[in-house]
């Protein structure tokens, strides 16, 4: 009898340990998974203590190349909301992860699937989705988050999704959103002021990350080192890019840290341009933990890059 009681105690303890292991994930907070770190920053700013936010990217990855880790699957399985950039930015990892997550609430078309691009009008929508254009994004360029004015739209989408999921905290979410947008507006004015002297500055980059940024700050984005999106440059393409940059006196080469240093450096040496290495999401460079810090970094880097000339 004593032995049976002991066995029962052991079984109860094992179940209690299992429950304790799994319980924290069932806490009362809204469980949010974002694909990229900028969205995670926004979700934290709006949700504050009401949300538990996990970003699949740490910030140093390429926006299209976040590794599909099975450890993401249980996190997505328990998520209330999955927040993404959209325009197929995450096509290389998110659809498969969502399918593996077996969480019906966050699948495409469900309220837990928050596509921040749904009210953005894209740039560079291809007239054809033939792969002769490389790894084209059929809905247009997905890198609108580098335009802080368009990023405000993402802030709005996240707030709307939070309100829809957790209406009882609506007032707080809306207040947090407005407060954050006001801070962002102040920073946008500051960034615009800082970038004024660089109006018309021409630059090239490794990948097509910068059309929205260039439009916003009045820069001229004149080419990419990649032959086509996702396709490495050929020697002829590099040669043509160098000739164009020399002819047009393009002074800046932007290198995103996910891409090799060698070719941007070579192009800069041949053309006399300055290479600036810029993050494409928060965490992509030191002291860029938030969206505002990242944009500060980018604006300052452009200023220094232009001064070096």
């Amino acid at each position: 009898m004593k032995m049976k009681l002991f066995q029962l105690k052991i079984i109860i303890m094992v179940f209690a340990a299992l429950a304790a292991w799994t319980l924290p994930v069932y806490a009362a907070k809204v469980r949010i998974v974002t694909t990229l770190t900028d969205l995670a920053d926004f979700a934290r700013e709006i949700g504050k203590d009401h949300v538990d936010v996990h970003s699949l990217a740490t910030g140093i990855e390429d926006t299209h190349g976040v590794p599909m880790k099975p450890s993401f699957v249980p996190i997505l399985n328990r998520a209330d909301l999955v927040i993404l950039v959209g325009f197929d930015c995450e096509h290389a990892f998110l659809p498969a992860l969502l399918e593996a997550s077996k969480n019906p609430g966050i699948q495409v078309g469900h309220p837990g699937y928050v596509d921040c691009a749904k009210n953005i009008v894209p740039l560079d929508v291809p007239s054809t989705t033939d792969h002769s254009g490389g790894d084209v994004h059929p809905y247009g360029n997905p890198h609108y988050m580098l335009d802080p004015v368009l990023a405000k739209t993402a802030v709005g989408e996240i707030c709307d999704a939070l309100v829809a999921f957790d209406p009882k905290d609506q007032a707080e979410f809306v207040h947090n959103r407005d407060e954050y947008l006001a801070r962002l507006d102040t920073k946008i004015a500051e960034w615009k002021e800082k970038m004024k002297p660089l109006k018309g500055l021409q630059f090239v980059s490794y990948h097509e990350h910068w059309p929205y940024f260039a439009d916003r700050f009045g820069l001229r984005y004149v080419g990419t080192i990649e032959l086509k999106p996702g396709i490495d440059p050929t020697p002829r393409h590099i040669e043509e890019l160098i000739l164009m940059m020399k002819a047009d006196h393009v002074p800046v080469v932007v290198r995103e840290p996910q891409f090799p240093e060698k070719v941007p450096k070579l192009i800069a040496e041949k053309t006399g341009a300055t290479v600036i290495t810029l993050p494409i999401m928060p965490g992509g460079a030191s002291k860029t933990d938030t969206y505002v810090e990242m944009m500060d970094y980018i604006i300052n880097a452009f200023q220094s890059g232009a001064k070096t000339r």
Partner: protein, 462 residues
């Protein structure tokens, strides 16, 4: 009124800027949408400015003017909103009237393997000739779409050249539905599909990291792990990734239908399989995945037909029991994984099949159980976006005669011009211990595979 001159100017500039966007080569609707968005943004800025001006008005006249401007802005805002709604409805209508709106996504995968082998078919037991051989190994048509809100469907139709006649024959490689909304972390697959057994058993040939399917999978499973049946996958509800799969089907891998299906078939004629897999983040850049698989077919009588041995004897499979373990270790640097990565993958399979042996005594065939072991291990290093190289080691006992052993060594190099166009050069040295009279040989392969149309980055290809 002077105060409001800059505001009116801004209004004019706003309209002009918006029009300038229209001059870009955007589709007309997108261009319109963009213009509207710009106008809305600029209108908001103007509104803020006029509000500020109204608060700072120094005289009643200025206040009245402010009010007039605000009214004009409000009217313009309403007009813009109306226009925006119209554009949206046209855009929606266009989408709805597309005749191909309900078509599934379609992709075609093609593969040509050119090889030179030092020994002929008779000496190697291969279904491909020795010397030079150009083999359009397969052309696959992939279609996939949601069936309804509860399931998706997909089909892979394969055309392959017959090794003897060269004629292409079409076949349904996979055609299955997969649920998407089952509760309790469950997913059900039904139809013809590749059953989840082992590590590379359910990967299509063109997605393998080397040219040929490892010998142990080719010989024990008979190719890809195809089955007609059902499979349930359960994501165990833990914070740690654990996946459990169980399936049952009629036939598995290279099985052919039974020549004598019988009047009434019992459940022991089906194949049952299962797989347990888990995963560990060793560091942000290092990943480890472990799996264990098992398969049972209690009565395989007639399945696979008569197995003719190289020495002329014949076997008939009676029962099939397999167990497998697999392991992969990957280095996937977060920052530049498109340019660098390392994968070490290994799999061991144990086959414990029962056979009826007609050789010892054709009139009184004896039953025998053959325990055989086989494994493969490969290491692939990606050193640029386009290039990777690796080495594959294989060793397998023949699962019909465990005394017959084969070792294969294959260095390979892959040039992926893009996701959709890939060339691979591989050398393979095959060493046989000649028990069944097969000869050792050397071969060089050049594989060229391509994809057109839709392609997806599936969970299994991670």
């Amino acid at each position: 009124m002077k105060t409001f001159l800059p505001i009116w100017l801004c209004l004019v500039i706003a309209v002009a800027t918006a029009s300038a966007y229209a001059q870009k080569n955007e589709p007309p609707l997108d261009s319109l949408k963009r213009q509207i968005q710009i106008l809305q943004q600029q209108m908001k800025e103007l509104k803020d400015k006029t509000s500020a001006a109204s608060m700072n008005a120094n005289s009643p006249q200025e206040a009245v003017s402010t009010e007039t401007v605000q009214k004009s802005i409000k009217k313009l805002e309403e007009e813009i909103q109306e226009l925006s709604d119209k554009v949206s409805s046209v855009s929606e209508a266009q989408k709805q009237s597309r005749p191909n709106a309900f078509n599934p996504s379609i992709g075609v995968v093609g593969e040509v393997v050119t090889s030179y082998r030092t020994k002929g078919m008779a000496e190697t037991g291969s279904d491909r000739p020795g010397g030079i051989d150009v083999n359009a190994r397969s052309v696959e048509l992939n279609v996939a779409a949601s069936i309804d809100p509860f399931a998706k469907g997909y089909a892979v139709i394969n055309a392959a050249a017959d090794p003897v006649t060269g004629e292409a024959s079409m076949g349904i490689e996979e055609a299955a539905l997969q649920t998407t909304t089952l509760p309790w972390n469950l997913e059900l697959k039904a139809g013809r599909f590749f059953g989840e057994f082992g590590r590379l058993g359910y990967i299509h040939d063109h997605e393998l990291p080397f040219v040929n399917r490892p010998l142990v999978l080719d010989q024990y499973i008979g190719g890809e792990s195809r089955s007609d049946g059902f499979q349930v996958n359960w994501l165990v509800p833990l914070p740690h990734y654990v996946s459990l799969t169980a399936g049952a089907g009629d036939g598995f891998g290279g099985d052919i239908p039974p020549s004598n299906p019988g009047d009434i078939r019992s459940f022991d004629k089906l194949t049952y399989w299962g797989r347990l897999s888990t995963y560990f983040d060793l560091s942000p850049d290092w990943q480890a995945e472990l799996g264990a698989s098992g398969l049972l077919n209690p009565a395989t009588e007639d399945r696979g037909g008569v197995l003719v041995q190289p020495d002329g004897s014949t076997l008939t499979e009676k029962a099939r029991r397999w167990a497998g373990a697999d392991f992969s270790l990957k280095w996937v640097p977060l920052r530049n994984n498109q340019f660098q990565s390392l994968t070490w993958g290994s799999e061991v399979l144990y086959s414990d099949n029962d056979y009826r042996d007609s050789v010892s005594d054709a009139l009184n065939p004896a039953d025998a159980t053959v325990g055989a072991l086989g494994l493969y291990s490969y290491l692939t290093y990606k050193f640029s976006r386009e290039w990777s190289a690796g080495f594959l080691f294989e060793w397998a006992e023949n699962n019909q005669n465990a005394q017959d052993r084969t070792t294969k060594l294959s260095p390979y190099i892959t040039w992926a011009l893009s996701h959709w166009n890939q060339l691979r050069l591989q050398y393979t040295h095959t060493e046989s211990n000649h028990v069944l009279g097969l000869a050792s040989d050397d071969a060089v392969y050049m594989q060229w595979s391509w994809i057109i149309g839709s392609h997806s980055h599936g969970w299994q290809q991670r």
